[in-house]
Symmetry: C2
Subunit: 303 residues, 2 copies
Amino acid sequence: MKVALVGIGKIARDQHVPALAASGDWELAATVSRAGTVEGVEAYTDFAAMLAARPDIPMVSLCLPPMPRFAYAEAALKAGRHVMLEKPPGATLAEVHALEALAAAQGLTLYATWHSRMAEAVAAAKAWLSDRVVRRAHITWREDVRKWHPGQDWVFEPGGMGVFDPGINALSILTEILPAPVHVTAATLEFPENRDTPIAAQITFSGGVSADFDWRQEGPQTWDIEVETDKGPMALRMGGNRLEIGGVEAGGVNSIMGEYPALYAQMAALVRAGRSDVDLSPMVHVADALTLGKRVVTAPFHF
Amino acid sequence: MKVALVGIGKIARDQHVPALAASGDWELAATVSRAGTVEGVEAYTDFAAMLAARPDIPMVSLCLPPMPRFAYAEAALKAGRHVMLEKPPGATLAEVHALEALAAAQGLTLYATWHSRMAEAVAAAKAWLSDRVVRRAHITWREDVRKWHPGQDWVFEPGGMGVFDPGINALSILTEILPAPVHVTAATLEFPENRDTPIAAQITFSGGVSADFDWRQEGPQTWDIEVETDKGPMALRMGGNRLEIGGVEAGGVNSIMGEYPALYAQMAALVRAGRSDVDLSPMVHVADALTLGKRVVTAPFHF
């Protein structure tokens, strides 16, 4: 099946293009981007022009930033194309609800992807937790925004989510593996004095769960979820790719490169089954933290 | 049917107690409050004690502030009582989703009330708009926080929602009357430099819809929704209680005193039908505005 990839930036080059090149389900047939192109693939700069010229492409994968994404997704669904959304699936919850209703009305697949849920050890962690009682869980998600979003000012603009852009990956794993749902009960949000979104956040959830998100970590990066249960501790490290049980390595890989191939395989399965998959629970936690968080102003941030 | 009223503050005295006194469905059988009481009604200060002592009371109406509300609602549902929630139904979306699941599992009624939807002219406005195309709509919701929440610091604390506490009333009407849903596309949030929640907000939605919320309006108060359609203008004034069509008065009342009696009548109907009613769309718009809003710091606010 042919796919058009929209938004040829860092995440497209790092993940989507290699995943599509290795896919047995999908063929990258067109790109749409103001400036980016992929060698050997027909390149458009105008989305409407691509939709009009290429009725043979049944699926559009959107990896442009969240703020403009809704307009593209709506146009693609109205033009009869299945749609795959990078995370977060939109700038607001209401716009994704609207897309979900539109996809259902059109009989099309909408897939709100969460790439970290496809990390190597997530399914094993979920299975291990399924018959255990969670006493406490703590997320530590500390990375260097200069390394992962070099010069990308949009992450600090309204709608860019700030440190919740990586943090939502942790929340997508948390909401997948916990045997019972939790909700935010308190949060502290650190806003750089020259920016509109937080650079760090400490969140308390019900059920003994907490999270520490920070975008100022230089040197080694940390993407850990540590869980204490009635039958001992479990940890996910490397963004869900490595599993530890009782403090001992229990499998996984030291790579995140399996996540996007798994997303595209799942999209193929959804299209074939005529189903959608839109789980907004990670984004609900972000909205809840931003709704009830205490705001603290911190040092200005410059790339 | 007997009801216990929890949180005997301003809204309980102004609205809930008179509505229950006039109700043919409900009898106010107990109150729970740290300090407030209602003359002639058995008063508890401890919620668990009331639940244990009064198994004859099948319904609990919660009108305490949103931050502590979840714990009360969860305890009531676990104790087998139907629950009615003041607006907003919680401090987070996720906690209300959890309550909804719990009520369904328990076979109990959960009613997330929106009193402004019961305003006199809302149903007529919805019917009038149902076969029209909305070109533009503008909400003006400007009131004096000192008049409506005298000394209530909790409205400015994290989770208190700030100016969205009244603004969500407008959004509950908007989401009820519009023939097609809209979503927030931009917002400016004015935070007093000594407070954690906004005192004013300007919101842009899709579909030509906008809102102006302000809690600093002295003198006459404004609660208007003005809509331009393909067949002329319509306006709701007085918080949805008066209707204007084509610039001419078209019915309604100059009072908000019909809203809470209508909520309690609806709760009785839901309990009898064994159904719940939990529509979070007004709260989703608030969370979305707080997620993607641009933050502006404004003058400190003191009661």
